[in-house]
Symmetry: C2
Amino acid sequence: MTNPTAAMLVIGDEILSGRTRDANMHHLASELTKLGIDLEEVRFVGDTEAAIESAARALSEAYDHVFTSGGIGPTHDDITAECIARAFGAPIGIRDDARALLVAHYERTGLELNAARLRMARIPEGATLIENPVSTAPGFSLGNVHVMAGIPTIFQAMVASVLPTLTGGAPLLSQSLRVNRGEGEIADTLSQLASDFDDLSVGCYPFQLNGVFGANVVVRGTDGTRIDAAVTRLAAELAL
Amino acid sequence: MTNPTAAMLVIGDEILSGRTRDANMHHLASELTKLGIDLEEVRFVGDTEAAIESAARALSEAYDHVFTSGGIGPTHDDITAECIARAFGAPIGIRDDARALLVAHYERTGLELNAARLRMARIPEGATLIENPVSTAPGFSLGNVHVMAGIPTIFQAMVASVLPTLTGGAPLLSQSLRVNRGEGEIADTLSQLASDFDDLSVGCYPFQLNGVFGANVVVRGTDGTRIDAAVTRLAAELAL
């Protein structure tokens, strides 16, 4: 059995200009790994209709699930909902179920549900709402594309809403060994290990700390016993 | 005059599995913005030949420059150089100029230049070396694709080596206003501003801090006087 695959599409000029650091990719990657869904690609694009539409279509065709982040708020640069609707030929407008959520929320908070805020109820036909326990305005799933907010607290809450509805695979397990030697010295040992344990993935991630080069070796797979065996052998060979 | 465009390709399973947070995208984005090169897309792919090759080709065709990060070390999972060579039909092997750099470096440090380390001298025919003042093993530029290391200190040093060789455009200037109101309250004002200053980009980046919603409004463009005018008007309209 192979695991379901996923891609992520992060939308926003502010990240590509270096103004903001994205935090959502790392969160989603960790959550998907726990669930046994393999995140195989992430794309970042700006607030541009053509870029959002073509990336959404390409990723939707290539992977089992696509998760988007950003561009579903009330301002003029929030164009994700329209772009996703257009990418998949779905009509879009203010939907009653989403409007009802906003009406109740703004009544509760005493703020005005103005035209800008009402834009957050634009949901494509046929989409399922994704619950937003932080600030109410929902995300949505249209086909295999899950459209979520960019603010990290809201993104995380929406991920927690949508992931339990998906079927995962075998969770990816891993063990790491920290080696205080340059990776050039352990490359042959690792290469032999990777070929003897070809059901596992053996990654070597070099670091430089206080002028010293070292490497973290990470062995990943779905069979914990095999990972144990590989890491035990590696530690013995490197005499750690 | 429009600015040159760029894309970035980040290579490595460790980021997609959530094990590591990428730091190189944010660095490159900031440096390109200063130079007046517009970063329009970033893709993250795993250590997979097909994914690296097809992303490199697609980005090379679509943008003026492509910057890659990761996968050029000495271990078995470092396959970027081969993939880039194959993507553009260039032969690849140990190149004398790169080997000479490594020979001198390992003589200096007293470490052994073994077969694994010598792999770091594999450079495609026709490529120009990118200097690595941190650990010597060079990156390379093949056509419009600039291939660099993933370790952040080395990546940053290589970026500093290669950017001065590129022709930039008009540096992107920006000013921000922090607004302690939900973006739904200022959306109409921003939308009108964006349409009156259509030579600038007006972005609204909501945040949530201690339970309060606010927004940073960022006005970007290449004409500082126009940005001043837009921000002054916005501050007056919002009575900041």
